[in-house]
Assembly symmetry: C2
Homo-oligomer: 229 residues x 2
């Protein structure tokens, strides 16, 4: 047992956390072993189990730490937007607070990308058991954004809000995850370094998504190709 504080120079613990986060962010959970981590951290293999108990607990600690930080950042932006609007944030500001932090952390010039954000994307892609168990809390976090949307657009059908929220996350997430494909497809004409532009784009589409149903109903006889035979 420790006797009081152990923060001073808990070098090993920090080195493991740092190395693990970087490796997981770069190569995913699937093919990063404890031996890879301790090699990168330059510590002994047994140190992981000594300091964290198990590999899963290491991953869980990494995830909860980053998860709390990301959520805090998003909520800060939301709070600011609501404060600026006297309790009701503009709908686009809400979307911006929702997807902005992660987008900024993951895209843009190399030197600005954060390992933390890339780690979180990995966590949301490869659903490894220790993370899956924790992830349910995210629903509560998203509910706060749904509530802010309700305040922003009272009277709007709730289902529309949920879909727009869902689509906003989908676009941001996929843009991060599959930026390579978009670059290849567009042969470089889509500028993935213009994070502000991408954010504007996603927010604009998300706002429009709120009216998808109405637009759809107004033109029910769509140009759908009559598949016929």
């Amino acid at each position: 047992m420790h006797s009081g504080h152990d923060m001073p120079t808990d070098h090993t613990r920090a080195a493991i956390l740092s190395a693990a986060e970087r490796l997981y962010a770069d190569r995913g959970f699937a093919d990063v072993t404890l031996r890879d981590i301790v090699a990168a951290a330059d510590v002994n293999l047994a140190a992981v189990n000594y300091h964290f108990g198990s590999k899963d607990e290491l991953i869980a600690e990494l995830f909860v730490t980053r998860s709390l930080a990301t959520n805090r950042q998003r909520l800060n932006e939301l709070k600011a937007a609501e404060a600026a609007g006297g309790g009701r944030a503009a709908i686009d500001a809400i979307f911006r607070a929702l997807v902005g932090p992660t987008l900024r952390g993951c895209l843009g010039p190399d030197n600005e990308r954060s390992t933390a954000a890339r780690f979180m994307i990995r966590a949301s892609i490869e659903s490894v058991p220790p993370i899956r168990r924790i992830k349910n809390r995210e629903i509560d976090h998203l509910r706060k954004f749904a509530a802010a949307m309700r305040r922003s657009l009272p009277g709007r059908d709730e289902v529309e809000l949920y879909w727009a929220l869902h689509f906003a996350l989908a676009m941001a997430h996929q843009t991060i995850r599959d930026s390579e494909r978009l670059i290849k497809l567009s042969e470089g004409s889509c500028d993935l370094n213009d994070v502000a532009g991408i954010l504007d784009r996603i927010v604009a589409v998300s706002v429009m998504a709120l009216t998808a149903r109405e637009a759809d109903k107004k033109a029910p006889a769509r140009l759908v190709a009559r598949d016929a035979r």
Copy 2:
């Protein structure tokens, strides 16, 4: 070696393919072992290496088969839409052809979901090496849809087309992948069984996404919370 045809009753091969596809679709590539597969298929462990050479080649065969089938299905719908429009498909019909087949295969009532479509979603999520190597061809396939969009909307900025294509796939993909979260978040008010409705929704938003930039530019001083104060 075989002498001529071997299709008649190549029971073992088919059983392995079927069991593997189902297990991978249900539980992902990460935690399905060859022993799981051969147990489900009720064949001997060595049969996989005998018939396919290796685990990776089994996965690859599974993927190329399904990939070709999906692409064929999408292109059929696209062709039909272009034929109906005299060479130019309506833009929403193009999106419909792009995301419709997968959406229909993955969502909807349990008994209508196809293992094949769910397998393909897994493949697009967990990027396992044997699949990643093949996946580059998908770009060429998407290019055909980009070309169809160009024909449908000549003069439109290409970058807009790529982003809309990207967003359409993002929304469809994420809806399939994370339908559970959307259900929980909306407490069931989002009906994930209404595949046609979801498809309409995604197509409508995708079409609107084509005008995201214009809308953004026309109203640059949007409701953005003037943070100010």
